[in-house]
């Protein structure tokens, strides 16, 4: 039987050791790690680039809209001024007090046996409210002239109360007249009356009183 002796075992061992050289293995590992790190860097770099692009786009948009904003700010001030002026003008025009309906009420309420010698009215405007004060003076004739004058006062309250708020009407004076007049052929007495009438004006009153053509 032949004796088999491996004369190359040392060479083989050296080759094996060379193949599994820890430095070589660690270099391969290192290379792999560097590759991973490079990949990771590329990913992060791409992410950063995306953020940079977003930032650049933001800055570009900012540079684009900033002048627009400056112009808008100037325009806004100008437009606000115009709109406020227009609104104030409209408010002033639409908020006017109309005396024609007042005249109409007076003409309707005063009966033919009552004479108005003096009629006056004033519009008092404060920052918070507007109020009308009126004075009606004249002669009332009738079988019971004081009652005629009182009826007028009540009729005024009733008629103005339908259109305005805070209506008050009181006699400033009510004196028996010296003259007697003929009314429908009957000799009747007279009184000299002076009625003070006042009422408040609200926005709603103005709206209901204002004629349709007021907006012309």
């Amino acid at each position: 039987m032949a004796l088999r002796i491996n004369l190359y075992h040392e060479i083989q061992l050296a080759r094996k050791q060379q193949r599994y050289d820890p430095l070589k293995i660690s270099m391969i590992c290192l290379g792999f790690a560097i590759l991973c790190l490079a990949g990771w860097y590329v990913v992060r770099y791409a992410e950063t680039n995306t953020v940079r692009e977003q930032y650049a786009a933001n800055q570009a948009e900012l540079a684009k809209i900033t002048p627009q904003s400056e112009k808008a700010k100037i325009d806004e001030a100008e437009l606000t001024k115009t709109i406020q002026l227009s609104s104030a003008l409209t408010k002033r025009i639409e908020g006017r007090f109309y005396w024609a309906p007042v005249m109409e009420i007076i003409g309707r309420v005063i009966p033919r046996n009552v004479q108005v010698a003096r009629l006056s009215g004033d519009l008092a405007t404060t920052e918070t409210s507007r109020r009308v004060g009126m004075s009606i003076e004249g002669v009332a004739a009738g079988e019971h002239p004081r009652k005629v004058a009182e009826d007028i006062r009540l009729a005024l309250i009733d008629a103005f109360g339908q259109k305005f708020t805070g209506v008050t009407a009181s006699f400033r004076s009510l004196d028996d007249g010296t003259d007697r007049v003929k009314l429908d052929g009957v000799d009747v007495g007279t009184v000299l009356y002076s009625i003070s009438l006042s009422f408040a004006i609200t926005g709603a009153d103005d709206a209901t009183n204002s004629p349709k053509t007021a907006k012309q």
Binding site: P22, C29, Q68, L79, I83, L89, R96, E104, G107, A117
Partner: protein, 183 residues
């Protein structure tokens, strides 16, 4: 396989090299990128309120631009109602003419005061006294109604109607009127 001293040294060297590379990569490549990214994001977050403000400003102005032309038209319409020239020159003839064309003769107007308008910048208020010496109540009331309807820049602030002693049914009227004019 057993590791001899040389092998151990090589492994140690490799490990150290790897840590060194990881450290260098992190310190000199990844960290600056991360810092860059964070600062850019931070800048963008910080600029968001500015963007909101700017966009809000533009949107507000666009909103006003819708009402603007209407407001300008209203102002132009009001201005067109104010005649050119001094009010003292055109006011009395205009008022007299108006009442005359509505059946009320001899209306005379005189300016008594001039008040600056605080609310209406660029405008002022003139106070007029209109005197009508002899008029019937109903034609006067009709003329006043028409005056109030057709002259939106005028407002009657007071009046006095006094019955005439000489002529029954006739009255003397004093009207206090204010109107708006441009500065």
């Amino acid at each position: 396989m057993t590791l001899n001293k040389v092998h151990q040294q090589k492994i140690m060297l490799g490990t150290m090299l790897m840590f060194g590379i990881i450290y260098a990569t992190n310190e000199f490549l990844l960290s600056p990128l991360a810092n860059d990214r964070a600062s850019l994001k931070d800048e963008m977050v910080k600029s968001e309120p500015l963007f909101r403000e700017i966009r809000g400003q533009i949107a507000r102005t666009r909103g006003l631009e819708i009402d603007g032309p209407l407001a300008s038209a209203t102002i132009a319409q009001v201005n067109a109602m104010i005649p050119e020239g001094a009010a003292i020159a055109w006011g009395p003839p205009k008022i007299a003419e108006f009442f005359k064309s509505n059946g009320v003769d001899k209306a005379t107007a005189r300016m008594t005061n001039e008040i600056p308008e605080k609310e209406l910048v660029g405008y002022r208020r003139l106070v007029w006294v209109i005197e009508i010496p002899n008029v019937d109540f109903v034609p006067f009331a009709n003329a006043l109604a028409k005056f109030e309807n057709t002259e939106p820049l005028f407002e009657c602030t007071g009046f006095e109607v006094q019955a005439s002693r000489e002529q029954t049914g006739s009255q003397r009227v004093i009207l206090n009127v204010q109107n708006l004019i441009k500065l």
